[in-house]
């Protein structure tokens, strides 16, 4: 397996990630997925994503960014379990982390 990459959303993307689609916001879930997540994952190594250091997330952002990895990006739940590490250091970001894996799983099972 290739080396791992660290993505700190607050530092590398935006402290105020917002919205689902690029048409709605430059810092949407779709923008994060397409500009950062997918290119890093395509390198083949593991990608660590740090959730702390932002003002928080809406479920629309997280679902589009991470559920979209399966629905749009073509990654499987099993592949992501091996290559995607969600890092969360607070009570709030831990809850976001659990939601992210729910969205990935639901996207894999064909649920909206």
């Amino acid at each position: 397996m290739n080396a791992s990459a660290l993505v700190d959303i607050g530092r590398d993307f935006s402290r105020v990630p917002a919205g689902r689609h690029v048409a709605e916001s430059d810092f949407s879930g779709e923008a994060f997925r397409e500009k950062i997540l997918i290119p890093k994952l395509r390198q083949g190594g593991t990608v660590e994503v740090l959730l702390d250091n932002t003002e928080g997330y809406g479920s629309s952002f997280l679902e589009e960014a991470f559920g979209g990895l399966v629905r749009v990006g073509g990654f499987s739940y099993e592949y992501l379990k091996l290559h995607l590490i969600i890092v969360a250091n607070s009570t709030a970001t831990n809850r976001y982390s659990a939601k992210i894996w729910e969205y990935i799983k639901e996207a894999g099972s064909g649920k909206p």
Binding site: Y57, G58, R95, K99
Partner: protein, 144 residues
């Protein structure tokens, strides 16, 4: 003073001392319990105020259309605040209540920040406002 009277006095003194000691400990325990109840009562009140503030902001947001960055940030902040208050209540609550509160708070966040949240094309959604009110009511009622 004969031996029996002396023993009774000593015994009585010891008994009184033990009684006073027990009384002091019991008073201390009762005070601590009352303090704990007071703290818990205040925490529950803060929790309910937090949930209500979250409900009001989310309802105002979904009563109108389009983006409102200030409301969006505030809704996310409310979610964090309520989470922190649930955490504060952990020590004096059952794990069943904590799990239920977290599950309802997650559900509120999911509904309040889902779909067109943070979208310029978002439309007002009265049905969602009603759903949020129901979840907020259930969430407020978790801790007694």
């Amino acid at each position: 003073m004969n031996a029996e009277v002396a023993a009774a006095l000593i015994g009585g003194g010891a008994g009184a001392l033990m009684g006073a000691l027990f009384g002091a400990i019991a008073t201390n325990v009762v005070n601590k319990l009352s303090e704990g109840r007071g703290d818990r009562k205040a925490l529950i009140q803060s929790f309910r105020l937090g949930v209500n503030a979250m409900r009001v902001d989310a309802a105002m947001y979904w009563d109108s259309s389009g983006r409102n960055e200030q409301s969006e940030s505030e809704i996310k902040r409310h979610f964090h605040r309520v989470l922190a208050l649930i955490d504060d209540l952990r020590i004096s609550s059952t794990s069943i209540d904590i799990d239920k509160a977290n599950q309802l708070n997650d559900e509120f966040w999911e509904v309040a920040t889902g779909d067109g949240f943070e979208s310029v094309n978002r439309l007002a959604d009265p049905a969602r406002v009603g759903r949020l009110a129901t979840i907020a009511y259930q969430l407020s009622s978790v801790f007694k």
